[in-house]
């Protein structure tokens, strides 16, 4: 066994000791206290006027507070939740033909009026030039890796409005992961335009259909709020060195886990992700929410977050979903079912490969995989 487990075993003790460090807990407590004291308006002005922007993502407060907590009553049925999730078979460089498969799963759950459910999936096969490349024939930018992820995010969003229009309102449109296509930031302007065009037009449709769009991030790793706290504290108070160093390592969820009771959400923040400058009226905002088991991050366009009634409904409907979760820690069942519909099993992946080989064989083409790939599969000794 090449992996040296005894080395890892000793390391685990150090790892656990770090997580339970008392000094860290005290700093976390202090960070929470300081967050409650910050003047949101002053911080906002500071973050907005800074040019160039801070090198890290920050959370711009939309309120004069940062550490407040808000509760809402759980909504009563009837209402609906439509969730989508995606999975893909990426282009395989070891295969003689280029193609990718997208499978978009969708769960439409109606509560009350009467209760109903629809679980379905839509599969796309992309194998033509214009499906495989952006700007084919000229730049030939392949849709793979992060770009395939974005393509899938667009397809997930596009699958929402049609289903959401047919169900009993209010309808929550729920996605897993971020609505901020940060992966686009490093791409060429033409790539950004190609994907954003479709994404924003799907957002337009959702807004017109009065769908409460939100995305759900479980165990979020964001540090936006911690970074804002750093901006506020550390530049004017060099004496706060220890706290400031700590803030560079802490996750927002750790801070809010001591500030939000079960069911409560945080203040609403603007993200400073550069790609959002191109989201037009669909700028994404976020808040943290204690779903009873963990702190999750909820993102939504400003037309949801800026409307008190819609924002409260999103909070209530997401909490209601978590209450209906069939497991611990709780997770929205609509997202779980959409995922179940989307997932492509190992057996199905193999089947697709066999179908490709068969289709090629029918035309007299031998399916020849790269020698490297074949050797990995054989693993002969």
């Amino acid at each position: 066994m090449p992996l040296q487990l005894e080395v890892l075993s000793h390391g685990m003790e150090r790892l656990a000791a770090q997580a339970s460090d008392v000094a860290r807990q005290q700093l976390l407590e202090e960070a929470r206290e300081r967050l409650g004291q910050i003047d949101g308006d002053a911080l906002r002005a500071r973050l907005r006027t800074r040019d160039p922007r801070f090198p890290w993502l920050t959370a711009v407060p939309t309120n004069d507070t940062l550490g407040a907590a808000y509760s809402v009553p759980l909504p009563s049925p009837p209402f609906s939740v439509v969730a989508t999730d995606g999975s893909n078979i990426p282009p395989d460089r070891h295969s003689p033909v280029r193609f990718y498969v997208l499978n978009i799963g969708r769960a439409t759950l109606v509560y009350g009026a009467p209760s109903d459910a629809r679980l379905e999936s839509t599969t796309y096969l992309a194998c033509e030039e214009e499906e495989l490349y952006l700007n084919p024939g000229e730049e030939n930018i392949p849709i793979e890796g992060a770009r395939l992820g974005i393509k899938m995010a667009v397809a997930e969003l596009e699958a929402l409005p049609e289903a959401a229009r047919k169900v009993h309102p209010p309808a929550l449109g729920l996605l897993d992961g971020s609505l901020i296509l940060w992966g686009l930031q490093g791409e060429e302007r033409s790539v950004q335009a190609a994907f954003l065009g479709d994404y924003l037009s799907a957002l337009d449709k959702l807004r017109q259909a009065d769908v409460l769009l939100a995305s759900y991030i479980s165990y979020p790793g964001g540090q936006d709020v911690a970074n804002s706290l750093r901006v506020s504290l550390c530049q004017d108070h060099p004496s706060e060195r220890e706290l400031c160093q700590f803030l560079g390592t802490v996750r927002d969820r750790e801070i809010f886990s001591g500030l939000l009771e079960a069911g409560q959400r945080s203040d609403i923040f603007d993200s400073t992700s550069a790609i959002l400058d191109r989201y037009e009226e669909h700028r994404i905002q976020f808040f943290y929410l204690n779903n009873g088991d963990e702190i999750v991050r909820l993102e939504a366009p400003q037309w949801v977050m800026g409307d008190g009634e819609k924002r409260d409904l999103v909070q209530g409907l997401v909490l209601d979903q978590c209450r209906r979760s069939g497991g611990y820690p709780s997770y929205p069942p609509a997202l779980q079912e959409a995922h179940e519909q989307a997932v492509i099993s190992t057996g199905e992946r193999r089947l697709v490969e066999e179908m490709v080989a068969q289709a090629l064989a029918d035309r007299g083409i031998t399916y020849f995989r790269s020698a490297k790939e074949s050797s990995k599969r054989r693993r002969g000794v």
Partner: protein
């Protein structure tokens, strides 16, 4: 009435997915499958079987059902609170083959081929049950069925079903009891289980 679709089939029985969640056909009831004829018999045939087991589980074998009830929400309300359950759970029932019919004659032995996969399973009307159970030779197939249920329990359940379908026909029940007594004369313990299970008592 269509009550299910065959999802696994073989020479001695099949498994069907029920149309209604949590409501498989009653244990021991006679069901039928209309099959196209082929092989040695060209005519269409009806294959008869007895429901020998029922179960409701997750559609995906990797997803087990979890507890969903609370102080306020339990039983039927769970299905209203979690509408997706109807899509991710399935009810299945097993059927033991006991005979088949073609050209108007009923045979009490296994059909030449298993009923086809994905074909519909239907309930039998009382008259059909009466016709099929007029002779009792097929009870031997039930007694040797090796399914999840002890065969004497299955036999008793079936006799109770037929007795009801025949309009509480006591004469038939007594005839069936004598037939079973003959079949199980070497195994009094099992015979007692059947006789105890089919005793209509004072109900009539």
């Amino acid at each position: 009435m269509q009550i299910g679709e065959i999802v696994e089939t073989g020479s001695v029985g099949f498994v069907a997915q029920g149309r209604e969640l949590n409501r498989p056909p009653e244990l021991g009831s006679l069901v039928k499958v209309a099959c196209p004829g082929y092989g040695s018999t060209e005519e269409d045939r009806r294959v008869y079987g007895v429901v020998s087991f029922g179960t409701t589980t997750g559609l995906d074998p990797g997803r087990r059902a979890v507890r969903r009830s609370s102080e306020e929400v339990y039983d039927a309300a769970i299905y209203r609170e979690h509408p997706q359950l109807k899509q991710v759970l399935r009810t299945e029932f097993n059927v033991v083959l006991v005979g088949w019919a073609a050209s108007g004659s009923i045979r009490h032995h296994l059909p030449p081929q298993p009923p086809p996969l994905h074909y519909s399973v239907r309930t039998c009307e009382p008259q059909e049950v009466r016709d099929f159970s007029e002779r009792l030779f097929y009870l031997r197939l039930l007694l040797t069925a090796s399914d999840q249920l002890p065969s004497e329990q299955l036999l008793a359940a079936h006799l109770r079903q037929v007795y009801q379908a025949r309009g509480r026909d006591r004469a038939w029940l007594e005839r069936a009891a004598r037939e079973v007594a003959g079949l199980l004369k070497q195994d009094v313990e099992r015979l007692l289980v059947v006789l105890q299970g089919i005793d209509p008592g004072r109900e009539g």
